[in-house]
């Protein structure tokens, strides 16, 4: 039988390497298993020369390997040296296949070679290493591969590359590069365009196709693999091609199956869920297996390395190790009243705030790093009506009052300890609907949107609680009229939360149905069929309702209501709502008034349609164009009136000159319809796509609603890939320019605007600036500048305007357009 190690570490990234180095330093018998032939494959596969950042800057690094921000090569060389110096026992090309056994005697099966035995296992496999597999029949045949090491190896073959990302395109180009190799290369793309790949790669690909060196098949996916053949499904039907080799590059996903097969349980079925762990990183369902690093939910290198150190300490029996983030938490909590220790505070918050009850101490620690805890004096405002904010608040101690009536701050609704508030802003991304003040000395925990969403994904109870409270409060807030939670409990009992796809209708014109809908997130457009054509009637943002006419009058639906973007609506059944209306005449009156106003708008458009058919058609088609451009999820968008734009690009120059010399907008690019041009510039979406996967959590929403990137950006480029509008670029600020007057008088420097590449290259050579990383940059709406967005101020003709969609899509525009 082979040697029994004290610790086997799977994965040699920052987390695994740090654990192995510490084990080696402590003289613990260990083995580090790495699937490839080099350490830290994820960072190894970074592009050459990439600058790797070390955030969070405040976190102290506690590890036996060095790490500081710098070039990929330098960091990898440092780690190689550290591993050698520490005497790490590393096994390359050792890919774990399965884990069996119990604490004290685990067996790790490898794809090649003898199994490994260990008392404890540290899983540090990250989330990058497992390629997504082809799922069609025959995908297991040996000529399907997920890696291409040397494109020069293959000659005279029919090769299909599956996948439309950079990896797939680069492989396909490599295989087709040398005509003498005689390969027939085809690349398959499931969608119509190559949206996920770098532009340069796509351009090269198109050029290679135009030159006849390869074939591109879009909207095509493989359905059957046979030896020597592949069958694909195209929009025109399926066809069978000769095929000697398939290279599938369809991205990677966390290796959940492997982890679950080892006996570890996950917090939920959500793809973003993490394994459930104890405070010492040990699996709660499988003792002896420890999970650290990205797989445990910590994507930053510093976190990973600290955990590597900590986990070895834990395994060797240390129980009172002070976590590396302890000083951070201490600092965060020091302003609070009472002299509790960090762990006492954690326990206090966890037990008091209802939605935090389900968290483990380890999760609680991580959670608090993202959140803020504050104490408020009685009467102190926590947030003000119409503030921008998407964070959620939990009341740990005390109570708050909500000023429900903007005209009279004395009318308040109390919320007590343990409950939450701010959930409407969290879910809809819109401004705060009411001012909230502490009514007694209060301690609240403020949870930023990303942390709140993570919490809801991890803890199902938290999700249910937030959903229940949200529906109740939203109904109260929309209908006001002195309703209490007791009044609407019957209505809410039958409420149904529905996800709606873009373009999907929740109400169809002419249908006989009478439910009422509340738009929780996203937005809806109302259309009516006039003269055989759908005419845009109005735009319904989140926090509003639709469907009241049929509900109140029991008549068929008068218009179609469909989602402008992916939205969430709450369906309220009609019967209990009518009963509520009968009990509450004030509410009935209020709804009657609003319904009359909506009906007048509809009547106005119908009337205009008869008289000025063209103007209404125009209004309708412009509205539809803007919705298609994603304006429905925008909060503030830059539009250019092409009947006024002289193409001077002063907007771009102004943008560059007020932001470190880099322009965040591209005037010429983007789409146009009927004189309205939507340039490539940030729309500050309600739920920004760019925020969804930012490892250092650097993308936030500012006080004026702007979505901005803070200086903790690590330059990973996730946001650039996530943005469907292409408004984020990766770049480094150019060196400072000579002043405007020395340019005007003596022609020094490149003049106003973003300096061209040549000048930047020449100017940065002279300076001693050294290496600076490429970071994500985007529009910040010129926040902090008194005059507002520079692009609008600097437009000489008034062509550039910034608008919010509900203002822009208002019916008030029709008569002016017609007149």
């Amino acid at each position: 039988m082979s040697e029994l190690y004290k610790i086997a570490i799977i994965g040699s990234g920052p987390a695994g390497l740090s654990a192995a180095a510490h084990a080696a330093k402590k003289g613990i018998s260990h083995v580090l298993l790495e699937k490839t032939d080099h350490l830290s494959d994820t960072i190894f596969r970074y592009q050459k020369g990439k600058h790797v950042m070390a955030t969070p800057a405040v976190l102290v690094l506690r590890a036996d390997c060095e790490f500081d921000a710098g070039k990929r090569e330098k960091i990898l060389a440092q780690w190689d040296a550290d591993a050698k110096a520490a005497g790490v026992n590393v096994r390359f090309k050792a890919e774990a296949k399965a884990i069996t056994g119990e604490k004290g005697d685990f067996t790790i099966e490898l794809t090649k070679g003898q199994p490994i035995r260990a008392e404890n296992i540290v899983l540090a496999i990250g989330t990058q290493g497992n390629p997504n597999l082809m799922r069609c029949d025959g995908a297991a045949l040996p000529h399907v591969q997920y890696q291409l090491d040397d494109p020069g190896e293959y000659t005279d073959e029919h090769i299909f590359v599956v996948g439309s990302g950079d990896a797939g395109i680069e492989n396909a180009l490599g295989l087709a590069a040398d005509a003498a190799q005689g390969n027939t290369v085809t690349i398959l793309n499931r969608s119509a365009d190559f949206a996920r790949a770098k532009k340069a790669n796509v351009d090269n690909l198109i050029a290679a196709r135009d030159a006849g060196r390869m074939t591109i098949m879009t909207e095509t996916s493989p359905v059957l693999v046979e030896p020597g053949w592949i069958t694909v499904e195209t929009p025109q039907g399926s066809s069978r091609y000769k095929c000697d080799r398939i290279i599938a590059r369809m991205g990677a996903s966390p290796p959940r199956k492997f982890v679950e097969a080892a006996g570890l349980s996950f917090a939920s079925d959500s793809p973003s869920a993490f394994p459930t762990l104890t405070p010492t990183f040990e699996s709660s369902s499988k003792p002896g297996i420890y999970v650290i690093g990205a797989l445990a939910g910590y994507p930053l290198i510093k976190h990973c390395m600290n955990q590597g150190y900590d986990v070895v300490e834990f395994i060797s029996g240390v129980t009172d190790l002070e976590p590396a983030d302890e000083p951070l938490l201490k600092d965060k909590l020091k302003a609070l009243p009472g002299l509790l220790s960090v762990s006492q505070w954690l326990e206090f918050l966890r037990s008091k705030v209802e939605i935090l009850n389900g968290l483990s101490p380890l999760q609680m620690r991580e959670f608090l790093l993202d959140s803020e805890v504050r104490a408020y004096k009685p009467g102190e405002a926590i947030f003000i009506r119409n503030d921008q904010g998407s964070s959620l608040f939990g009341i740990a101690d005390g109570a708050v009052k909500v000023e429900v009536d903007p005209s009279n701050p004395n009318i308040t609704v109390p919320i007590g300890a343990g409950s939450i508030f701010g959930e409407v802003g969290l879910i809809s991304g819109r401004k705060r609907g009411a001012t909230i003040r502490a009514s007694e000395p209060t301690i609240c925990v403020e949870i930023p949107r990303m942390a709140a969403l993570k919490l809801m994904a991890q803890v199902p109870e938290a999700r249910e609680t937030v959903n229940r409270i949200t529906s109740e409060r939203q109904v109260l807030q929309i209908f006001k009229s002195g309703l209490t939670p007791a009044d609407i409990s019957e209505v809410l009992a039958g409420a149904e939360v529905m996800e709606v796809r873009p373009g999907q209708a929740i109400i169809n014109e002419g249908d006989v149905s009478d439910d009422l809908y509340i738009i929780r997130s996203g937005s809806m457009i109302v259309e009516k069929n006039l003269g055989g054509k759908p005419v845009f009637m109005s735009y319904v943002p989140a926090g509003s309702y639709s469907g009241e006419m049929a509900m109140m009058e029991r008549s068929p639906r008068v218009a179609t209501v469909k989602a402008a973007i992916r939205s969430t609506v709450v369906k309220l059944p009609a019967e209990p709502f009518r009963a509520l209306l009968a009990r509450k005449p004030e509410l009935a009156k209020r709804m009657q008034t609003e319904m009359r106003a909506r009906r007048e708008i509809n009547a106005f458009i119908e009337e205009q349609k008869e008289e000025f058919g063209g103007a209404v058609d125009m209004y309708s088609s412009v509205a539809n164009f803007l919705i298609k451009q994603g304006i429905g999820e925008a909060t503030d968008v830059l539009l250019i009136d092409e009947s006024l734009c002289v193409g001077c690009d002063n907007c771009e120059k102004a943008c560059a000159d007020s932001h470190d010399g880099l322009s965040r907008l591209n005037r010429e690019a983007g789409t146009t319809f009927a004189n309205i041009h939507v340039p490539t510039s940030c729309r500050h979406c309600e739920h920004p796509h760019c925020m969804s996967d930012c490892p250092p959590n650097a993308i936030r929403r500012g006080p004026d609603g702007e979505v901005f990137i803070s200086d903790t950006c690590i330059g990973c480029g996730n946001c650039q890939r996530a943005c469907p509008y292409g408004v984020i670029q990766m770049d480094k600020p150019p060196p400072p320019k000579p002043s405007l007057f020395s340019w005007m008088l003596f022609g020094k420097g490149p003049g106003p605007g973003q300096p061209d590449y040549e000048w930047r290259k020449k100017a940065s050579k002279g300076g001693a600036g050294g290496e600076s990383p490429k970071l994500a940059i985007k529009c910040d709406m010129c926040s902090g500048k008194a005059g507002g967005p520079a692009c609008v101020r600097a437009c000489p003709t008034g062509a550039a305007i910034r608008v919010s969609p509900d203002a822009f899509l208002s019916v008030a525009r029709i008569d002016r357009g017609a007149g």
Partner: protein, 282 residues
């Protein structure tokens, strides 16, 4: 389809600066004729009215010239370049009245009249600019659709790459034709050429003509290549046409500035000479 908050520079704030400029002109004209009626000859630049009008006009000229700086200094405070342009246009036009009355209709071959003539030249070129800004943007954007300048250049570059590859099987004469298009095609050219859009001697066009005169190809492979080259040359001609029309409209939008700006600097020099000589010799 415009919102009330969305007005062009000419309509800015309901023609506020047009109203101010008109009022200014009306007041000045009224005062002038009121004063002139009591004098034997019209008031010259040397009278109190002349000095007043001269000071206002000179101040306006300097302020109007500052637009060039305002446009380029992006400060953080409240300002709207559109409002500046609006005021620049209407107050600039009002100078035709103010400065003419300042002269007292006394002209001669001297630096004083030179300053006046230069000023009128600046205003006339500016009027051309107003016409250009009011009418050309539609054409500018109508022409390009959603293609950017960069995309046009990239399209030409990629067509060139295709031509290069396609020309490989050709004989010497055929290759020469492709080289003509590849090496000598000029997209823009000098300002005058861009403005007039006269590209009759375009190398790509000549290559297309020469291609038709080539002797019959020797092999079917060459014949196929030639047929494809003809298509690509035509595609290139289309993209060139698009890019050149774009450059022509841009040149029209910028062309007046080539008079307006140098004339402004000449005016500032002549104005300085005018003011200095008036105070030195009178």
């Amino acid at each position: 389809m415009r919102q009330r908050t969305h007005e062009g520079f000419l309509r800015h704030k309901g023609f506020r600066w047009a109203q101010i400029a008109t009022l200014l002109c009306l007041v000045v004209v009224a005062v002038y004729f009121f004063v002139a009626a009591r004098l034997a000859e019209p008031p010259s630049g040397g009278s109190w009215l002349g000095y007043t009008l001269g000071t206002i006009s000179a101040g306006l000229i300097v302020w109007l010239a500052c637009l060039g700086i305002r446009k380029r200094v992006i400060t953080a405070g409240h300002y709207s370049l559109k409002a500046w342009v609006s005021a620049h246009v209407y107050l600039g036009l009002s100078l035709t009245v103010l400065a003419t009355l300042h002269t007292g209709f006394q002209f001669g071959w001297n630096v004083h009249t030179l300053a006046y003539v230069l000023m009128m030249l600046v205003i006339a070129s500016g009027a051309l600019g107003i016409w250009a800004y009011a009418t050309l943007p539609q054409r500018l954007h109508g022409n390009r659709g959603e293609t950017t300048r960069k995309q046009m250049l990239e399209a030409i570059e990629s067509l060139d790459k295709q031509l290069h590859d396609l020309a490989q099987p050709l004989d010497r004469a055929g290759a020469q034709v492709v080289r003509l298009s590849l090496e000598q095609t000029e997209i823009g050219g000098g300002f005058w050429r861009r403005l007039t859009g006269a590209h009759g001697d375009c190398a790509n066009l000549r290559a297309m003509r020469k291609l038709k005169q080539l002797p019959a190809p020797a092999t079917p492979r060459q014949a196929e290549a030639l047929a494809r080259i003809e298509t690509v040359l035509q595609q290139k001609a289309d993209v060139l046409g698009l890019a050149r029309r774009q450059m022509q409209i841009t040149a029209l939008l910028e062309g007046w500035l080539f008079v307006h700006i140098p004339a402004t600097f000449a005016l500032l020099a002549a104005l300085t000479a005018h003011v200095v000589s008036v105070f030195t010799y009178w």
